[in-house]
Amino acid sequence: MPLLREQDRRQLEEIFAAQLTDPVTLVLFTQHDSPLLIPAQECQTCRETRELLEEVAALSDKIRLEVKDFVRDAAEARQLGVHIIPATIFRGKNKGTLRYFGIPSGYEFSVLVQGIIDVSTGTTRLSAQTREQLAKLSVPVHIQVMVTPT
């Protein structure tokens, strides 16, 4: 059964058609479904996150989903700073790095949608002054936003 309701699917399709300008790649680090269940290593939301991203990616030909395996592609995961899964990396016209750890569902689904739109257009609603200050940054800044889905 799909995770997105038909009505939401249609609405999202319209939003993406109207607002996406450039291609976006979502890189998802997840784990293979295994018949062997190792409790301590089980990723509880990996399967659902993958299904959700597959459904979202199907709504626009500008969105591409790349699925990576956390174990098999460990070197790439390390290089991208992915140490927990599920991890979604947004690639488009963004200058910096944008990642989502966990399942972007509930209230956080809008973060996924807005993230896709932002990296597609490469623009933000930040003021000119803020953008100017950010452009002057000379050292790395790591911003972590802790959220819960409800």
Binding site: F101, H142, V145
Partner: protein, 64 residues
């Protein structure tokens, strides 16, 4: 901010899935923002104040 600057990495972390991270950063309320592991605050800040926190963290990073 990560859209605008190559120096910025922005992570959203669903902490109910990662209790160790919630514990590491003492997350008792969300949203909680942590910048460069040093500066943190709870709740949403207006853009200007958020930027100030980012600049503060960056200044500490350079030892200024």
């Amino acid at each position: 901010m990560a859209i605008e600057s190559e120096k910025v990495t922005a992570d959203v972390i669903e902490v109910s899935e990662f209790p160790l991270i919630a514990r590491r950063y003492d997350v008792f309320a969300v949203p909680k923002v942590v910048i460069n592991d040093r500066i943190s605050f709870e709740g949403a800040l207006p853009e200007q104040l958020f930027l100030q926190k980012v600049l503060e963290a960056a200044a500490e990073g350079t030892g200024v």
